[in-house]
């Protein structure tokens, strides 16, 4: 049972979550005075310390769970609390560890931006939301932070809101995430209505409701019958829908490339390392909910996403777009990892990917920063993000080159890097899993292998174009040359480059079996029957293919051996990102706009017409009333007045002022009264 007392690890985790929130509030309160970002950086640094302490205390031990009563609806009590298990503290530490270099990097990268005070506030808010998400102990609380993450991301994507593209991008991201959020909400509702609790540990823990073998019926909350497997499949799909939108899985991936409109530091933190990881984390949390069928759906979706995104990345020219598709592709890998039941490997890949993808973005940011600088200095009409305009930067920006090379090698899974450990582990386990499967799904590991070749190709293409190729004519002609990024940006990059190498995860760079991270989470999972040969064969083959691809890219892009056919259907399909955006435009956006136009017309002509008719009738009625009021009611009142006036006018003639006349009048009146009295008596 969860206890109610705060122990030190809990206190540390709580402060790790709340410090960025305090930073956010303080930044908002300070307003434009908080331009330097000290508040945010201090908050995230303290948060990192607290997270590190919590991690050291909790990792490898039993989960700690604390909760307090929050509110009660009818008979149902809802709680708010923290659940610190291995996955939670790992994510807690990871988010802080990624966020701190990004904060430090932003210090130089965002320098001089007129809205920078907003930037720091949003960044703190985002960190708060993400940290809250990972330690939340129940699905409702998780959902709240989930929404906050989406909202903070909306703010950051649209940070340069005066740009049309940024405004569209954040709208797109928000709307697509709403679709997923509804899935998440429906999933929560289904779980709650059938089981009656939202507590993560009670639901998905080792002794939890869903700990029974997948596919079996679960006893229902009200004790009447059982929750059927079909109901669970639908609930699982609802959760998966939420994760799909947040983690940019095909076909909901379209928001992520557009989200590159935000500052590059934001892209590296949110759209590479943390927010998109929330979907994977959610699936890892609710993993016991999924039955066989659902896992197959997840694995298939992940594989399709990985393949499609890698394919789109091949022909992009925008450096950030390439990295965005690379992110989607790697997220597809993680989803496949969850789909084959190896969620610890998915989490491991999430961690390694967070480091090297964050680094890739930061390095890209440094390059863009430099290109922008040159563009402004020399008045060049170039797109600073277009890789065709770059080239030969290897000598100009050696440190950036070195860090980006390390990150790229980690991405392709080259030996000695962290990516090698996680990616090959994933591939090997995919093969082991496929050995037990029949039918088309057994092709999944082969597709993933192809994807990893594509990955090598597009990332080496990026490196070749940016660092090795001859400098673009427009730059070479003017004698323009780039310089290395400032130190404040290089230090975080070097730090992340170190984190992308193997020593952080294991002492044996060639064997993923000894990674402490996997050992920490995997204990709870059933293992697949190992195929010894694969553990040897897959890494060797992968490495050899990578080297071959590198040679091909070298010959293609630097030596110029193979002319590029840019008119082929496959090329165009890739360049236009599979026409998915166009498809959405035709299938959803345009009908919606048409419907809106129709509704507008209806509103304008029918609803407004009715209202205007009523208004006209009211006015007419009011006109009649006015006439009656003016001529009849007022007439009657005026008539009374006129009568009184006339009577007064007549009677005033009696007031002659002649005393004797008055006296005579009085006399005659008295006489009349007397006569009346006399004759009345008679």
């Amino acid at each position: 049972m969860p206890n109610l007392t705060l122990t030190y690890p809990l206190l540390a985790a709580l402060s790790a979550v709340l410090l960025p929130f305090a930073g956010f509030l303080l930044s908002i309160a300070l307003g434009k005075k908080a331009r330097h970002g000290t508040v945010a950086i201090v908050a995230i640094s303290l948060s990192l310390l607290a997270a590190g302490y919590a991690f050291a205390q909790v990792w490898g031990h039993d989960p700690i769970h604390v909760r307090w009563h929050w509110f009660t609806i009818g008979q149902h009590a809802f709680h708010v609390g923290l659940l610190l298990d291995n996955a939670a503290v790992l994510m807690l530490l990871l988010v802080c560890l990624i966020a701190l270099p990004v904060h430090a990097y932003s210090f130089a990268y965002m320098k001089g931006d007129p809205g920078i005070h907003r930037y720091w506030a949003y960044l703190s808010l985002f960190c708060f939301a993400m940290l809250g998400l990972v330690v939340a102990d129940n699905l409702l609380l998780m959902y709240i932070f989930w929404e906050l993450v989406g909202f903070a991301s909306y703010l950051l994507i649209g940070f340069w809101y005066t740009r049309d593209a940024a405004a569209h991008a954040n709208k797109k991201a928000f709307i697509i995430n709403r679709v997923g959020d509804i899935g998440f909400l429906v999933g929560i509702a289904m779980v709650y209505s059938s089981v009656g609790t939202l507590d993560v540990q009670a639901l998905f823990g080792p002794q939890g409701v869903f700990a029974a073998p997948a596919g079996a019926d679960i006893p229902a909350a009200n004790g009447k019958g059982t929750v059927t497997a079909g109901w669970l499949t639908v609930a699982g799909f609802a959760f998966f829908l939420g994760a799909m939108a947040k983690s940019a899985q095909f076909p909901f991936h379209v928001w992520l490339p557009d989200a590159m409109e935000g500052p590059t530091s934001v892209s590296s933190l949110i759209h590479a390392a943390t927010m998109v990881a929330a979907g994977v984390f959610l699936l890892a949390r609710v993993f016991p909910l999924f039955n066989e069928a659902m896992l197959l759906v997840i694995a298939t979706t992940g594989t399709i996403t990985a393949f499609v995104a890698a394919y789109f990345a091949l022909t992009q020219y925008d450096i950030k777009k390439i990295l965005a598709f690379s992110t989607i592709s790697q997220l597809g890998f993680m989803m496949s990892g969850i789909g084959i039941g190896m969620y610890h490997i998915a989490l491991f890949h999430l961690v390694t990917h967070a480091f090297f993808k964050c680094l890739l973005f930061l390095a890209a940011g440094a390059i863009i920063h430099e290109m922008q600088h040159m563009k402004e200095k020399h008045g060049l009409a170039i797109d600073p993000q277009d890789i065709r305009n770059m080239g030969g930067l290897r000598k100009r920006m050696p440190i950036t080159f070195a860090t980006m090379l390390i990150a790229s090698l980690a991405l392709v899974g080259f030996p000695l890097t962290a990516g090698y450990l996680s990616k090959d582990a994933l591939l090997v386990h995919a093969f082991e899993w496929a050995a037990l499967q029949r039918g088309p799904v057994s092709a999944i590991p082969y597709v993933l292998a192809i994807v990893s070749i594509l990955t090598s190709f597009y990332i080496f293409r990026l490196l070749a174009k940016v660092f090795f190729a001859r400098p673009a004519a427009i730059l070479a002609n003017k004698g323009v040359s780039a310089h290395e990024a400032p130190r404040q940006m290089l230090v975080p990059m070097v730090f992340l480059a170190f984190c992308s190498l193997f020593p952080l995860f294991t002492f044996n760079p060639l064997n993923d079996g000894q990674v402490w991270l996997l050992q920490g989470i995997a204990a709870e999972l059933p293992t697949l029957p190992p195929l010894r040969l694969l553990h040897l064969l897959v890494p060797i083959l992968a490495t050899i293919t990578t080297i071959i691809v590198a040679v091909v890219v070298w010959r293609w892009y630097i030596r110029g051996h193979y002319p590029l056919n840019t008119t082929g259907a496959l090329y165009r399909l890739s360049e236009r990102q599979g026409y998915v955006n166009e498809l959405y435009g035709a299938a959803i956006v345009r009908p919606l706009l048409k419907l809106s136009a129709l509704l507008w017309w209806t509103d304008r002509h029918v609803v407004d017409g009715i209202i205007n008719g009523i208004a006209a009738a009211g006015r007419a009625l009011a006109g009649i009333t006015t006439w009656i009021d003016r001529h009849i009611v007022d007439g009657a009142v005026r008539l009374v007045g006129k009568l009184a006036w006339g009577a007064g006018n007549v009677l005033r003639r009696s007031q002659t002022g002649r005393v004797q006349q008055y006296l005579a009048l009085v006399f005659f009146i008295i006489l009349l009264i007397l006569l009346y009295l006399i004759f009345a008596q008679a």
């Binding site: 005033r652 007031q655 002659t656 002022g657 002649r658 005393v659 004797q660 008055y662 006296l663 005579a664 006399f667």
Partner: protein, 101 residues
């Protein structure tokens, strides 16, 4: 035999003459005289009715009071007329019309 009716007729005649003077004369002094005549008509009536009060002669006593009061009233009225004359340079009631609306 002089009866009560004779007295009352004399009183009525006096009253009518006085009333006529009050209503018709163009001189405030003569209006005052008319008033005196009306008072005296009343006094005649009082004296005439006093024969029915053999014990106290209340009517006659009251007549004496009325005569005294009438004399006092005449004094006051003459003073008013004198002031009116000073103000309006006229004693004709027709000329004094400040009460007109």
């Amino acid at each position: 035999m002089i009866t009560l009716t004779h007295f009352l007729v004399v009183g009525a005649c006096l009253f009518s003459i006085g009333l006529y003077a009050v209503l018709a004369r163009r001189n405030a002094i003569l209006v005052l005289v008319g008033i005196e005549l009306m008072i005296n008509a009343a006094i005649v009536n009082l004296v005439a009715f006093s024969r029915y009060d053999k014990a106290f002669y209340g009517g006659q006593v009251f007549a004496l009071f009325a005569i005294v009061l009438a004399a006092a009233a005449v004094a006051v009225a003459l003073a008013i007329i004198l002031n009116v004359y000073k103000f309006y340079k006229s004693v004709n009631p027709e000329d004094i019309r400040n009460l007109k609306d």
